[in-house]
């Protein structure tokens, strides 16, 4: 009894520790040192078809050496506040390990000084929502140390909407309808056969 309690206790403690071991970097501690812009056709963008051109680079007005720790750049597609309403699975949290704002990776590249550009075709599994683009600068341990985004701090400007693919195909539609009709028709068929058998038995 005591041994089982001890074992359970150990498992609990280990569980707690594993939580702590994940680095608790908070978003509010990051500095906005990158400048990010995203250009795209001025209309509703379609997933799988349209392209977004993303440019990022260090803010030139900052003192030299600000980017000494930057080893990698991770550019992500992030949900705008309007698309987070009533959707807890897209919630913004200050602790980056729990933050669910940015769920789609556009690109991850080694950091170089100077501006970088990328033309990115919106992937087909991006859902219908309003987005902005954010870039994180990561250090050698893959921890975020700075960021930049194409919108303001309140995430209200330069947002763009993406329309997802529906995932439907004509063949699927036809198959659904056919199978449904088949189910009902076979039920009618069974009834008909039963009635006929019943009438025959009575004769």
């Amino acid at each position: 009894m005591a041994a089982t309690a001890l074992l359970l206790g150990l498992i609990l403690v280990l569980g707690c520790f594993s939580e702590i071991c994940v680095a608790m970097i908070s978003f509010s501690s990051l500095q906005t040192t990158l400048v990010v812009t995203a250009s795209h056709p001025q209309r509703l963008l379609r997933a799988g078809e349209d392209k977004i051109t993303v440019r990022w680079g260090l803010n030139q007005s900052l003192p030299a050496g600000t980017d000494s720790a930057y080893k990698t750049i991770k550019v992500q597609l992030c949900y705008a506040p309007i698309s987070q309403v009533d959707r807890a699975w897209r919630k913004t949290e200050d602790h980056l390990s729990k933050d669910k704002t940015c769920q789609f990776k556009i690109v991850k590249r080694p950091y170089t000084t100077g501006n970088q550009t990328l033309e990115w075709t919106i992937e087909r599994d991006v859902p219908t929502a309003t987005y902005f683009v954010r870039a994180y600068a990561l250090d050698a341990n893959d921890h975020e140390v700075a960021y930049g985004q194409n919108t303001d701090a309140k995430k209200t400007t330069n947002l763009f909407e993406i329309q997802a693919i529906s995932g439907r195909h004509v063949s699927l539609d036809i198959a659904s309808v056919c199978f449904s009709v088949f189910s009902i028709a076979s039920l009618m068929g069974f009834f008909f056969v039963e009635k006929r058998k019943g009438r025959k038995a009575q004769q």
């Binding site: 699975w89 449904s180 038995a201």
Partner: protein, 506 residues
């Protein structure tokens, strides 16, 4: 003298299992598929399993579906309530349909009529269409009633609790199995090359096809009663056609049906609610991966493999020793304990303790479901279907109520909701104390001693003297005789009133 011998009947059929005078099996052999009894058992649990798989096929894939259809948390909650509310009235209607048309046609018809809803889930394109398909798919949960009715028609008193418990338990298993099956099917299809938003749509064809095929199996291999199907028996005069209004009336005027409907809402209804919320609860409270939360959620439903049948077996064991009073005591005790563990589940704060308490809670709550259907077959013989339907419908009402009161919106945190649900379980289980059978007694009172109350008096009270004059009550009479085992050990010590009453002295 029995009327049935006056009508031309085939010579006494040989059954694979020992049977009573109604040809209901008195033994339950799980690993046999002998027609008609065990075959009916396997057909009924498999088809009910497929309906559960279809009804709860959406929750494990919600992370994909909610992005494809642009759902909000409110949309998801509403669809969850819709999925269990359709069956409330469907179960009552199904009960009546079983009484009138027999469980084989009733269940196969419902399954084939709801299969289109599952096929159409593949082409859902908005929150509203998603809600509609979940609503109509949920109607298929009414097959529960036909499964119970069928088992109560095929198996005799001493084993009816076990048969009902295993059939329903293994059917409910579908709710847990689907949390494992659907993600697997989805990843298989996605790995073959389909895009996420198409793969989940294709995945829904699996439960839909399974459902369709199980209905075909019922129609081809099943039969309503040990002696044959309703229609054939009615045509040959071996079974009298029952009048809907009378069947319905005797069902809804039996107060025991209403009490069991309420209490079933707080074992089965709670089980359905937990099926809908538990994955999210573990995911949010303990920050688990969705995959892990899904496995824990599945284990809640998978406990049905043994816990609900155990409830049925316990009911039959208590009946052997203590009769119906034993069944009632066991039901009240197990369900109340389930409520206590529910309260504890909302209070514990660590992951391991939560999992352990959840599993204990699931065992008690599911066993209570099995125990309920150890009592239901005896509440009425003429209106067995209506009583089963009311109880089953009550289960779904409980699910709708608990989700609306405790788990909609942000009024209560999920853990508070769970604790409050536990308190409600304990309170709503108390009415079992009020159930009383004149011939067997209740939890606190023995059988009526003012007159010698017999099983015949109780079951024949559902037939008017005119109907008895026509001999319509024969099946009830046989049932009354067979139900004498509900007296417990006292059966052999009492001199029974003469069984010669069935003579049709008009």
């Amino acid at each position: 003298m029995e009327i049935s011998s006056a009508i031309t009947e085939t010579e006494p059929q040989k059954f694979a299992l020992p049977v009573d005078s109604e040809h209901k099996a008195t033994e339950f052999h799980l690993f046999s598929a002998a027609a008609p009894h065990m075959l009916a058992f396997h057909l009924s649990w498999i088809s009910f399993f497929s309906c559960f798989v279809s009804t709860f096929a959406a929750p494990p894939l919600l992370p994909i579906i909610r992005d494809n259809l642009n759902l909000t948390a409110t949309d998801i909650g509403n669809a969850g309530v819709a999925s269990v509310s359709g069956a409330v009235f469907a179960r009552i209607a199904m009960g009546t349909a079983c009484d009138l048309f027999g469980p084989r046609l009733a269940s196969a018809s419902l399954i084939l009529l709801t299969a289109p809803a599952v096929y159409f889930t593949s082409i859902a394109s908005s929150p509203i269409s998603f809600l509609l398909v979940r609503f109509f798919t949920g109607f298929s949960l009414a097959t529960f009633v036909s499964a119970q009715f069928w088992m109560s028609s095929m198996f005799s008193g001493p084993v009816v609790g076990t048969a009902n418990g295993v059939a329903a338990g293994w059917g409910n298993l579908g709710g847990g199995a689907t949390q494992l099956i659907m993600p697997l099917v989805f990843s298989l299809i996605r790995d073959i090359g389909a895009v996420k938003f198409t793969a989940w749509r294709i995945a829904f064809f699996i439960p839909a096809l399974f459902q369709t095929l199980s209905a075909f199996a019922i129609l081809i291999f099943g039969q309503d009663l040990p002696d044959g199907n309703y229609q054939r028996l009615q045509n040959s005069g071996n079974k009298q056609k029952n009048k809907f209004s009378r069947v319905f009336y005797h069902g809804i005027t039996n107060y025991r049906g209403w009490i069991l409907a309420l209490t079933y809402g707080y074992c089965f209804g709670v089980e359905l609610t937990v099926d809908n919320i538990i994955a999210e609860y573990f995911y949010d409270r303990f920050n688990l991966k969705l995959h892990t939360a899904g496995i824990i959620a599945a284990s809640f439903g998978l406990a049905n493999l043994v816990s609900r049948p155990a409830g049925g077996v316990l009911s039959d064991m208590m009946a052997k020793r203590f009769g119906m009073r034993g069944r009632l005591w066991a039901l009240w005790a197990v369900q109340t304990l389930g409520g206590v563990f529910c309260i504890i589940l909302g209070q514990v704060g660590s992951l391991t303790a939560s999992i352990v308490v959840m599993i204990v809670f699931s065992v008690f709550v599911q066993a209570a479901c099995g125990l309920t259907f150890g009592v239901v077959p005896f509440v009425s013989r003429r209106s067995l279907g209506v009583i089963s339907g009311m109880t089953g419908g009550g289960g779904n009402v409980g699910a709708v109520l608990t989700q609306l009161i405790f788990f909609k919106g942000s009024k209560y945190s999920k853990e508070t909701g769970i604790t409050l649900m536990g308190i409600m379980i304990v309170c709503c289980t108390l009415p079992i104390l009020l159930i009383y059978f004149p011939q067997w007694g209740g939890m606190f009172c023995g059988p009526s001693s003012e007159k010698i109350a017999t099983e015949e008096d109780y079951y024949l009270s559902e037939w008017s003297s005119k109907e008895q004059g026509k001999g319509l009550h024969q099946a009830s009479l046989k049932f009354a005789d067979n139900s004498r085992s509900e007296r417990g050990r006292r059966v052999h010590s009492q001199t029974l009133p003469s069984n010669a009453t069935p003579s049709a002295n008009v």
